[in-house]
Symmetry: C2
Subunit: 278 residues, 2 copies
């Protein structure tokens, strides 16, 4: 009954920084990201994913505007510097200011020093987001790393099957999700994220904050999930660095076994998505 063992083909070792556990100054947050970058590089990771607004704090009220920057500001310059220093692709979060608007963004910086992707959160969460941010207007943001296609989503974005389907259809192999998931929403990390990975046959790297921040209790529970919906690594409630190897053979094997994408019935699905129920 035991066939030949499936071969293993590591396409990327990735790291997730869970933290920081407090708002801190921008300098403190950048120091925490640098410490995670140093540790990730020492562990042989190619990519480090940090949480939503990892450089500034997330539930920071009026500080959001004070700490917001453009893509050529000092925060992104600092991320570029540490990406180059540790030869590591780094995903970091901050509030972006452009033409008088604020966006909740994730940026991806390559060891070349280039900002290779920027995703503006497209699904805003409650007044917490709507009172501060304008929504992004591009659904699918992708970048290349280790010869694979990565995608970006920010927090609430991943809860929408429509967004992750669009990634799968656009060829995303690994979806990277900086997040700020708070209590009582552990169901998102435990149930929704594994479901998205399985139903779309891709890896998901979900990097959460932890600790408390101005009345929010973050869940921790950061997770790296395989295309079979099973955890490759999962964090507890405290600051932690997760490391996992993403196996190309597992991706190919999953896509051969689970054919949901090909088995859809687009002939029957509503030709236009339903609008808001305002």
């Amino acid at each position: 009954m035991s066939g030949p063992r499936r071969s293993v083909d590591i396409m990327a070792r990735v790291a997730v920084m869970q933290g920081p556990a407090a708002t801190g100054s921008v300098e403190q947050n950048l120091a925490a990201i640098e410490a995670a970058a140093r540790e990730s590089a020492a562990a042989g990771a190619r990519l480090l994913v940090t949480p939503e607004m990892s450089a500034t704090g997330y539930n920071i009220g009026d500080l959001t505007g004070e700490r917001a920057e453009s893509l050529d500001g000092p925060i992104v310059r600092a991320i570029i510097e540490l990406s180059q220093r540790y030869s590591l692709t780094v995903v970091a979060g901050l509030p972006e200011r452009e033409q008088g608007r604020l966006y909740d963004i994730a940026v991806v910086v390559a060891p070349s020093g280039l900002v290779i992707a920027r995703h503006r959160k497209v699904h805003l969460f409650a007044e917490l987001d709507r009172d501060r941010f304008a929504p992004g207007d591009r659904l699918v943001t992708q970048f290349e790393c280790a010869d694979r296609t990565f995608g970006l989503a920010v927090c609430y974005d991943v809860e929408f099957p429509e967004l992750v389907r669009a990634h799968a259809d656009s060829g995303t192999d690994i979806l990277v999700v900086p997040t700020g998931l708070m209590q009582p929403y552990t169901v998102v990390s435990r149930i929704l994220v594994p479901a998205r990975a399985y139903e779309n046959q891709l890896f998901i790297v979900y990097a959460n904050r932890c600790g408390s921040e101005n009345g929010l209790e973050y869940c921790g529970d950061s997770v790296i999930v395989g295309p079979d919906g099973a955890d490759l690594a999962r964090a507890g409630a405290e600051e932690e660095l997760l490391i996992a190897d993403l196996d190309a053979a597992a991706l190919a094997d999953g896509r051969r076994r689970n054919t949901h994408l090909a088995d859809r019935r687009p002939d029957l699905y509503p030709a236009k998505p339903f609008g808001r129920r305002d």
Copy 2:
């Protein structure tokens, strides 16, 4: 910190028959459904959900055609009789024959004696289905019971977020899913079904087969899930009858707290769903 307790408003007590554990004759299967109906009625249930092809067996090869019937055949007449006898709405599965084609269907029979709904599986699973069945051509099938709107899906259908989204947009409060989930797919019952309930804010009643049938090992693991993604009742691996009360207050509460449907960005979603990747 402890506010007033949320009120409870039972809208329907539902029952799930997990089984039968063998193919059996049609007479044996109808006897098993009748036993479940008797027990469900005694427990005060309004609705009994039985698995995929509960009246005939599912992985039955050439027997599929031999046991297939039209909606006015003896199987549906037997379901009508027991529905009337126990004043119970009954969901049963069988192969339907119409104009030379076979469909994998679930029928809903009300205590009035009327067949109030029939859903033909629209997402066919692998050669196991494709070699026998034609796919249904209606995505959303609904029926009324206990003054609530129920929806129908068969097995693999529920794995597609597009189908359950269409139910949510059509007003389905409780999605009923006769299924024949086999190993190694427990991820569907444990992860996908709870995700569908949570992301669409509805109850799901997922009634599975158990035991083994011509080389398939069914998972059991039938489940009734609430709109918060949490189990109301979950079966083990053996024959079992699940009972749960569906609470209208939990539905209203969940829809107030979780606003995914309103928070979608249909302006950004692909105007036409992607086609097959053949």
